[in-house]
């Protein structure tokens, strides 16, 4: 239905070319949906996000956005259609710039509208993210973390993007403020028909906001499918272990944790075969020998594991 953002990237060389931060990832995101990207620190979530945004070059594979290779898009046009929100609302805003001018910047760069129209648009955006008109004349340091994240959201919305990549947008916030921002993102999505790639290490947050979920481990996708499906019946042993470690705010529901042996291996030196095999409670002979590719195990669910 609608447009498809097809993302297919291969072995990725970062600056050093020594790290396989993202490796053989294939996934698609459909218009109007939220794809959640989960996985432990260092598994390559942010790197994948930067590849999608065209901020990190890929050494093989292809990223297609609205039926056109990202590298074929004129830089300026791509920036209008794809925007990103970062974790740290403190460092992502220029401290010497007023809020209004931060939000207006994209409109200025792209010479959209008259001065009066831009000013009106800034007012509209402030309202949209739950800030007051007079906030436009203040500086970032006068705002709380949650308010700064609202500013960051307003800035990304200025150019009417189709896709917003949110990299840990609520991780630095208090739970009450986190809930405010999650609600805001959901409301805006419906209102403006936005598509999100939503990155978080917090599985409860992702299960709340994402329609589909991709679980990453050492730069690869282990399992991808509808959130409702994956959180109810995880198939990959890594997904299972990850979910069993999540604590719920309910003392009567103490789930049995599936222990993982050893430490997370370094992405510099990923294990042979299935990257999860050294820690997998269900590994068997085949796992260290051959790498399993993503395979459809149920409608819309793909799993990279030899058990399937």
């Amino acid at each position: 239905m609608g447009k498809h953002y097809k993302v297919t990237s291969g072995l990725l060389g970062l600056k050093t070319d020594a790290v396989r931060a993202v490796d053989g990832v294939s996934l698609t995101v459909s218009k109007g949906e939220t794809l959640g990207l989960v996985g432990e620190s260092g598994c390559g979530k942010s790197t994948l996000a930067k590849c999608v945004m065209g901020l990190e070059s890929i050494s093989s594979g292809r990223i297609v956005f609205q039926d056109r290779d990202v590298s074929d898009w004129p830089e300026k046009a791509l920036r209008r259609k794809m925007q990103m929100i970062f974790q740290d609302p403190y460092s992502s805003l220029n401290p010497r710039q007023k809020i209004g001018s931060i939000i207006r910047e994209g409109l200025d760069i792209h010479s959209i509208g008259t001065r009066a129209e831009r000013r009106a648009r800034v007012q509209e955006l402030l309202g949209l993210v739950g800030l007051r008109p007079e906030h436009g004349t203040r500086y970032p340091h006068e705002f709380s973390g949650g308010q700064r994240q609202r500013v960051a959201v307003a800035r990304t919305l200025a150019l009417d993007p189709d896709l917003i990549v949110c990299d840990e947008p609520v991780s630095a916030l208090d739970v009450s403020v986190q809930a405010q921002i999650l609600r805001l993102l959901k409301t805006l999505q419906t209102r403006l028909d936005l598509t999100y790639v939503f990155i978080s290490h917090d599985l409860s947050v992702v299960s709340h906001i994402a329609d589909r979920v991709a679980v990453m481990y050492l730069g690869r996708i282990m399992e991808i499918g509808p959130g409702a499906d994956i959180f109810a019946t995880p198939r990959h042993p890594y997904t299972e272990a990850l979910l069993s470690a999540v604590l719920t705010p309910d003392p009567t529901r103490r789930t049995e944790r599936i222990p993982l042996s050893g430490e997370l291996p370094s992405p510099m030196n990923p294990p042979s075969g299935c990257p999860f095999h050294p820690r997998c409670p269900k590994a068997f002979e085949r796992c260290p020998q051959e790498r399993p590719e993503l395979r459809e195990t149920a409608p819309g669910v793909q799993v990279a594991c030899w058990l399937y």
Binding site: E40, S41, S144, G146, D174, V175, S176, V177, Q178, A179, Q180, L182, R183, H201, D202, L203, S204, V205, S207, H208, I209, A228, F231, A232, A241, L242, L243, S244, A245, V246, L247, T248, P249, D250, P251, T252, R253, R254, R257, P259, L260, G262, E263, L264
Partner: protein, 320 residues
């Protein structure tokens, strides 16, 4: 389970700044029982860390100072002790795992030297015995290859390993009380689960007590027997863990629970509006009033910590 190990009464810690003097911890009374885990929960800036630092006499002075109250430990008031008396207790009978492991570990010393120090100081061990004790402590916290890790520097270890080292250091002298300030907040869920299980296991083995500071209600539900909810420097609800989650009484506690997304539950969140006030601009009356949807005229005066049956305490006029 009913012996009081630590009895905090009316503890008040003030900070001075160009804006004046304000209380980060305001007349807090709490007790920690033998063998229990007491969780102290609340959002950023509620005073959780300052509370912990106040207990151990570690509040940075200036700008901070414990100005009122008493903290009884084995019949002695920690607040009346001088630095040398406190040093005998700190790290020995009461120890702390700090919120930031990298600030608490000295980057230029090897791990075993850092763990050995309290052993030499408090247990009078010589260098060799203390270093051996350090390796034992590392093994106790489940570090694979403790002999090798003992000779490492902090930056050579992963976040989860460093947190284990912190716990090993805190437990090296068999303290009666461990105060853990957000011990797993910076860690991945799988590592968090391992560390929490480890803390439970060690607590049971040593029959110690744990004061666990966290903003994470999932951690509270998993670990605590009793919970103190803090808001703007004050305890607003004090309760056993079961009833707290089954029927939170304070509007702040209720709001927190309604704000937390639960795995697999897509129903709408009902966040508390606004943010925690800074200590220099606290509202009049109930400190939660500007964010409280149940506030009424009475709330312009500060409610006391009211009895709410079976040992429960709530600081809210709705429960008078």
């Amino acid at each position: 389970m009913s012996d009081t190990l630590l009895d905090i009464r009316g503890l008040t810690t003030r900070f001075s700044s160009p804006q004046g003097i304000a209380k980060a911890v305001d007349t807090v009374s709490l007790s920690l029982m033998q063998g229990e885990t007491l969780a102290v929960v609340g959002e950023s800036g509620c005073g959780k860390t300052v509370l912990a630092l106040s207990i151990l006499g570690l509040v940075p002075d200036p700008p901070g100072r414990v100005t009122d109250g008493s903290i009884l430990y084995q019949g002695h008031d920690l607040l009346a002790m001088d630095e040398s008396e406190l040093r005998r207790i700190r790290g020995n009978q009461i120890s702390m795992v700090f919120q930031e492991p990298m600030t608490a570990l000295n980057p230029v010393f090897r791990i075993d030297d850092q763990i050995a120090e309290p052993l030499r100081l408090h247990q009078g061990l010589d260098r060799r015995a203390a270093l051996a004790g350090a390796v034992d402590a590392l093994a106790l916290v489940g570090i694979p290859n403790p002999v090798k890790v003992a000779r490492a520097y902090p930056h050579e270890l992963s976040g989860g390993m460093r947190q284990r080292v912190m716990i090993a250091m805190a437990l090296a002298c068999n303290p009666a009380i461990l105060i853990a300030d957000e011990p797993t907040t910076a860690l991945d869920v799988t590592v968090q689960a391992q560390i929490l299980d480890l803390m439970n296991e060690l607590k049971a083995r040593m029959n110690g007590s744990l004061m666990l500071i966290t903003h994470d209600l999932g951690v509270v539900a998993r670990m605590a027997q009793r919970v103190a909810v803090m808001y703007a420097g004050k305890v607003v609800e004090l309760c056993e863990v079961g009833p707290l989650f089954a029927e939170p009484l304070h509007p702040y506690t209720r709001g927190l629970l309604a704000s937390v997304p639960v795995l697999g539950d897509r129903s709408e969140l009902n966040p508390i509006p606004g943010i925690v006030p800074g200590i220099f601009d606290l509202p009049e009356g109930c400190r939660f009033r500007p964010r409280c949807k149940d506030a009424f005229d009475r709330c312009t005066t500060l409610p006391p910590l009211l009895e709410a049956g079976s040992g429960r305490r709530v600081r809210c006029w709705l429960h008078q």
